[in-house]
Symmetry: C2
Subunit: 569 residues, 2 copies
Amino acid sequence: MTHETADFEVPSDEEIARTATLDDIETVAARLGLGPDDIEPYGSNKAKLRQEAVDAARERGRNGSLVLVTGITPTPKGEGKTVISVGLAQGLARLGEDVAVAVREPSLGPVFGIKGGAAGGGYSQVLPMEDINLHFTGDIHALTAAHNLISAMLDAHVHHGNDLEIDVDQITWRRSLDVNDRALRETVVGLGGSANGPPREDGFGITAASELMAVLCLASDLADLKRRVARIVVATDRDGTPVTVDDIGATGAVSALLRDALRPNLVQTLEGVPAFVHGGPFANIAHGTNTLVADEVGLAHTDYLVTEAGFGADLGAEKFLDIVSREGAAPEAVVVVATVRGLKRHGLDMWPANFDVLATPNPDAVRDGLPNLFHHVSVLRDFGLPVVVAVNRFPDDTDAEVAAILDACATREIPASVSTAHAEGGRGAEELAELVRQQVSSGRADLQLTYDLDDSLREKITAVATHVYGANDVTFSKQAEKDLNRLVEHGFDSLPVCLSKTPYSLSDDASKTGVPTDWTLHVRELYPAAGAGFVVALTGDVMTMPGLPARPAAVDIDVDDDGTIHGLF
Amino acid sequence: MTHETADFEVPSDEEIARTATLDDIETVAARLGLGPDDIEPYGSNKAKLRQEAVDAARERGRNGSLVLVTGITPTPKGEGKTVISVGLAQGLARLGEDVAVAVREPSLGPVFGIKGGAAGGGYSQVLPMEDINLHFTGDIHALTAAHNLISAMLDAHVHHGNDLEIDVDQITWRRSLDVNDRALRETVVGLGGSANGPPREDGFGITAASELMAVLCLASDLADLKRRVARIVVATDRDGTPVTVDDIGATGAVSALLRDALRPNLVQTLEGVPAFVHGGPFANIAHGTNTLVADEVGLAHTDYLVTEAGFGADLGAEKFLDIVSREGAAPEAVVVVATVRGLKRHGLDMWPANFDVLATPNPDAVRDGLPNLFHHVSVLRDFGLPVVVAVNRFPDDTDAEVAAILDACATREIPASVSTAHAEGGRGAEELAELVRQQVSSGRADLQLTYDLDDSLREKITAVATHVYGANDVTFSKQAEKDLNRLVEHGFDSLPVCLSKTPYSLSDDASKTGVPTDWTLHVRELYPAAGAGFVVALTGDVMTMPGLPARPAAVDIDVDDDGTIHGLF
């Protein structure tokens, strides 16, 4: 038993990003078989695909294999799924495969909050980092503008006579901003007299939580986007009937605002692998993965498309499979990312996470945390998919801790590999890439979804809770019972379900680590995300507007007089 | 005397824009002597100048002559200054001059509200129209994000212990959104308990009204932008001392968010003349013209740069000269735009404007309205600048009405020309261009500003009110007197002044047409726009957040499945 750690020192993400040499975006596009006319460059190193190229890719159809990267029940710092996704793509490229990676767009709120930037890290980053973390190609800003246009048209309708007889107390469409701002969580708007009113309670969510983000990520094309936008429910009238975006006349303007946002953004990884960074919905109240359009374009133009789902497999992968794959994009293999510190938290039954303690070598704690990993693996295998475990190795991880994971996986015949993609880029993920390639080549993928759309909403929720989360049963609050009835009444019962739950436990209680047993999922409330095309079931409280800490990351961000930006990571 | 009207039929702006053939943006840049490496293309037809090109232009210094386009006291539909600016630039190009035009960026709020798009019109448009009117290169979105980051950091500071002892009732930094939304004018934020609070009164302005927009438009470079951002006053502490953006630690992050927005956007007019569309501040609480950086780059690379100022000459041109020209960009000639309908409103002493009545031929009413035009001409001549009158001719204008204006100008020896730039493009503004060229060549420009910075704030305001507006005197409310004292106390008395007043009258009462006499300007309140670098004096009420009408323009906007957008004009 040793406490040796891997011997590598990695410069800061910012330093790596700044000293990287990027290929022209035309060169990157050429790796996908796309010509200069297929892309619309935004500067030298980013582009949006042109509409014609997107249409051609859809016509061409799927060529490559989809690899989904998910993770164990994470710590609040995450397990490093993006690093592994990027590293795996780079590893596959090193093996000579045509590959691309598709990940979510970072949101400005967290960039200035606690988390800092989010585009991978170390030598497995997506570049240009500054652009991707700030305004990028403007997709999220477009969503913010479109979201708030709906709000303005809704309130203007009410103000100007309210022909639709909207019940002012039943306006469910809140406003959106891409910022971490707790002061906007609960507001009153329409104050200042009858010229501005009527006054009513309202609030803001972060743009990533907007249903429009989910719509953008699930729309197959502009026509589908318009259909989805049109049916979004924004309120109910005095009879309790849903009022939609189309009812208030906003479908066309909103879709026009989102036209360009629907076209995938192309950038590159540090090693020049084509990367789609496109869309970024929440993984609890929404489905938590990049746009379907990006996946489709990637699959038409590569042998392998690596993509990721948010949070742990219970939230992100379940939704990817039961919602997104149901629309067409089914993976051939799944990678489950685990970290020593993440497993240690489960082994130590620790909540909240104390990262100093988690940095202390403790192979036994890692071992005690493994059931969480194996639960996720088992669930994913029940989905009919081959699984590979990727241990995302950190500099402080000891050999003994890493061995504890690998040994246990070997015993259970789960392919597993240690990845040093952060410290070494694709080279640190070659073995992982080889394992993934073997699993894909096996052709064993045979996707079995958790429920049928014909099942009742109650049955669907129960299936996810028991099969995926490991709950004994599900209870519904009085409100949830009412909501269920109303959803059936309004014809939303044939939609898939999207369960909102804490990401920090398999259960609905963040303090329960490992694999909680003998527990019942409690559903508090349900509502239709009719545009996205699912019913959201809320369990615990959901925070759709983060706040800033006492010392936000923004304080350390600066820009030199020559335009160099510091402190984004 | 006839009631004949000009015989032309102009397709819709949208139709003209859609059928236009655009040059590649590299070709447009080449007309300015800029190479492919000087620009960062955003697609085929828009670009941002690279930082190096901006720096090189500043080093190169001014080469061309600046022509400022302003107008009479307008109707709410405007006098068509952008059409004349674009048309004049096209006219100068037809005369063989190297020319560019610089105009303001349209704001999304009005695009979806009453006004529709704003990038000129007819055959004097700036293209690509759809992009310019929607997200364009993201500058306004960047401002929105930066503005609200300040708000979030401010409220987070108060929430987390309020070390700066900010007086929660004296937070002057409201939030911003680029939307017309009356429900956001007056709000309460921070509700929902101590996790979100403290609760306080707040409100949103449209992004164009943000002081950050004025800062962006007046900053000479990134270093200057940072200095200006740092000193923006957001609140006062419990001792009444100003609290700045820098105090709350937001300077760097805000400047990083605005880095790219500071670089000018290059597009083209319908006839291929290089056009800078960059920045768009209000013309009452701010100075109402595009960025200084765009003017400087344009003047370094052309013989003529045509630019416009907001509203009538009393508001827009006065501020351009007393604020912007003071920073360096002084015009060689000024064009005052007048319309038959605008003068008719003054002649008929009509408020609010009834556009049906204004469309009825009435040369006498036009003649009776001329004093308003001559007041503006006289004020601009007092500024030491040669003036040309441009009659922006509409299809319904009769020859007799147009002649009434030209004859009166001839009598007073004011160079004047009828422009049909809307209907005929540059061809319809060639005579105007020739007149402007003559005035510029005369070399008579000798700018005399309205006041010295050493004058007291009271003297500066009085000088603008009496010399420019024609008031007898100025009175100050009790609040304004307090504000004046506080501004002196905090060292803001050496700044220029920016008077906010109705644009629909030379006086502070929108119902007073023509040239009101025997009136006193009443100043209600003053505050420092310390980042922009001026003191704002409010007279009447200022609306910084427009509302949507009962049937907003957005209702008629749509996008086809192939991406063609309809209804923007």
